[in-house]
């Protein structure tokens, strides 16, 4: 059961081969056994989970179940869930029990009837690429416990890779779904900006943040995405568009060239220096596999992509410095135990409640938005954002999807980049441009460098998730990289 796909779990539950309580208990027991080593979950509440499982079993018994009713899932601790501690990886929210559900949680618990197994560890306020900035300690990569799982959705990635959960939610502001998916051999999807509601998803950079699924296959991601999307009047940037079935292109297809005619764009900038050779070798092998499946590869160019990291580290901190001003020790979360004036209370609360990386980004944001610097930094970054988005518009005139590496390296060692913020930021050189443009992007397992997994990034045009999932799915039908599990897990 721990190796089963969501489709298989759904069928087993529907055929009453296993109950949701039994299935959830199986995963909760694994969490109890393995989490002390991996630190993938920060909150587990067996009673709450089993109550949801009993409700799901009742729905299955009365024939009112949906396709994922009773299926367990791990929730990134950035999503508010009523009655659950919701920390966002921060001391600031270590004692925060959410009084309400995020829209994504409400959809999964309510309409879909899924069972949350707990809340997963993450970089503090989703700021990080290694999960080392969490107040609750780093997560260990199940493929090599001396290495990072990536971030910021590192707990979700480690949980699914170690089969502590069949799937998980993540969020992606600059690569936080795709990079940990790559480093832990998972399939992860960041949807088009505006497709998944941000209500109740603790804000980092509001014009970039987007929730999405992390699972073992494109098929599983498609099923999860179906439960996550939809217009939400409580999110001012939620898009009101017709509901799609993201599994619609994944059905049986005859012939050995299921991707015949698909034009894959290879941005020359993603294949230049800067990527480890063993990662590039796996990506090149994936390109050859795609050609066998009928795809045609064309060279495209994203000439401003080298500016995505600099522009992002103006825009994201600027938005973060504004968003995180709400953590002031007044309405929720941490308050310093001793203080004098109101200002002193703010200053001590925020000094003690935030970790070093979060403080750095707030300071950058405060600086680039301050009088005299706004034009040179913030406006310039927004203009470069436009150039980056325009590059993609041009590239998609020549191709249907864009392909390249997800991350320039495989999982690095714990502590290896922790002392140098700039080195850490460069972990996301291939993912950030996608957030700036607001496009959908995926990471798909495409091989190994030694013992460590390599991720292939697929980028789609706006709202082209169904095609992107199909492109990933056909590759996964022809390869078995995504089925491999870390030693000792299965």
């Amino acid at each position: 059961m721990i190796a089963a796909s969501l489709q298989e779990l759904s069928q087993a539950l529907g055929a009453k081969k296993i109950s949701s309580v039994e299935l959830s208990t199986l995963f909760l027991d694994r969490i109890e056994r393995l989490n002390p080593v991996l630190n993938a979950f920060v909150t587990v509440d067996r009673e709450k989970s089993l109550k949801m499982a009993r409700e799901a079993d009742a729905r299955i018994a009365t024939g009112t179940a949906g396709p994922l009713t009773g299926v367990p899932i791990a929730q990134k601790d950035i999503f508010c869930a009523e009655g659950w501690t919701t920390t966002c990886g921060s001391k600031m929210l270590a004692n925060f029990i959410s009084p309400y559900d995020a829209t994504v949680i409400r959809k999964m618990h309510g309409e879909a009837g899924m069972v949350s197994l707990g809340k997963t560890n993450m970089d503090e306020f989703a700021m990080g690429s290694s999960n080392e900035t969490s107040y609750f300690g780093p997560v260990r990569n199940p493929w090599d416990r001396e290495r990072v799982p990536g971030g910021s959705s590192g707990g979700s990635a480690a949980a699914v890779a170690a089969r502590l959960a069949p799937a998980a939610t993540g969020t992606d502001t600059g690569g936080s779904i795709r990079q940990p998916a790559a480093l832990c051999n998972l399939t992860g999807l960041k949807p088009t900006y505006g497709v998944v509601s941000r209500y109740g998803m603790i804000a980092f950079a509001s014009s970039l943040d987007q929730g999405g699924p992390m699972a073992r296959s494109a098929e599983d991601c498609a099923l999860l995405l179906n439960t996550m999307v939809g217009f939400d009047e409580r999110d001012s940037t939620s898009l009101d568009r017709p509901i799609e079935d993201y599994t619609r292109e994944l059905g049986e297809k005859s012939g050995d060239k299921p991707l015949a005619g698909l034009r894959i764009g290879l941005p020359k900038e993603f294949f230049a220096a800067g990527c480890d050779d063993d990662v590039m070798a796996a990506v090149q092998a994936a390109i050859a596999e795609y050609e066998k499946l009928g795809a045609i590869c064309v060279e495209v160019s994203l000439p401003n992509s080298h500016l995505s990291v600099p522009a992002y580290y103006v825009i994201a901190p600027a938005e973060a410095s504004s968003n995180l001003s709400r953590f002031d020790g007044v309405r929720y979360g941490y308050r310093a135990p001793e203080y004098g004036s109101l200002d002193d209370m703010y200053m001590k609360t925020r000094a003690q409640g935030f970790g070093a990386e979060v403080k750095r980004r707030i300071l950058i944001g405060a600086y680039v938005l301050s009088h005299g610097y706004y034009d040179a930094y913030y406006l310039q970054a927004q203009r470069i954002r436009r150039l980056i988005a325009n590059d993609f518009i041009e590239a998609f005139k020549l191709c249907d999807v864009i392909l390249g590496p997800t991350s320039p390296s495989t999982a690095f060692k714990l502590g290896e980049k922790a002392a140098d913020p700039v080195q850490m930021y460069l972990s996301d050189i291939y993912t950030i441009a996608v957030n700036l443009a607001g496009l959908p992007g995926m990471s798909v397992p495409c091989g190994f460098a030694g013992e460590l997994p390599v991720g292939l990034q697929l980028i789609g045009n706006y709202f082209d998730e169904a095609r992107l999932l199909n492109v990933a799915h056909r590759y996964q039908q022809a390869t078995d990289w995504h089925r491999r599990s870390p030693l000792g897990i299965e």
């Binding site: 505006g194 580290y313 103006v314 405060a366």
Partner: protein, 95 residues
């Protein structure tokens, strides 16, 4: 560009984050490293390029001016550090 310690303290004040003198030194080094990365932007001629604030070029949606939320003050204040009689308590601001 290189930030001075005074500038770092000034930004920290703007952001309402207390930093000690020894922290300010480390913070300054890290911020200067990050700004070195950011400075790559300055070489780009962006004259005439429309700034992009958002992934979707859409205006903000308007809604009816109507009450849509239930009163859940007690639930929301249950997570506050200090409240009294439905009010959030902070240090005295006006003498």
């Amino acid at each position: 560009m290189s930030l001075t310690l005074e500038q770092v303290q000034r930004i920290a004040l703007l952001a309402r984050i207390e930093i000690s003198e020894s922290e300010a030194q480390t913070t300054r080094n890290h911020l200067n490293g990050i700004f070195e990365l950011i400075e790559q932007m300055q070489a780009v001629d962006t004259a005439g390029v429309e700034p992009m604030a958002h992934a979707q070029d859409l205006g903000q949606r308007l809604r009816d001016d109507a009450v849509t939320e239930a009163d859940r003050r007690a639930a929301f204040q249950a997570v506050a550090p200090e409240t009294e009689a439905g009010l959030y308590l902070v240090p005295k601001v006006i003498e």
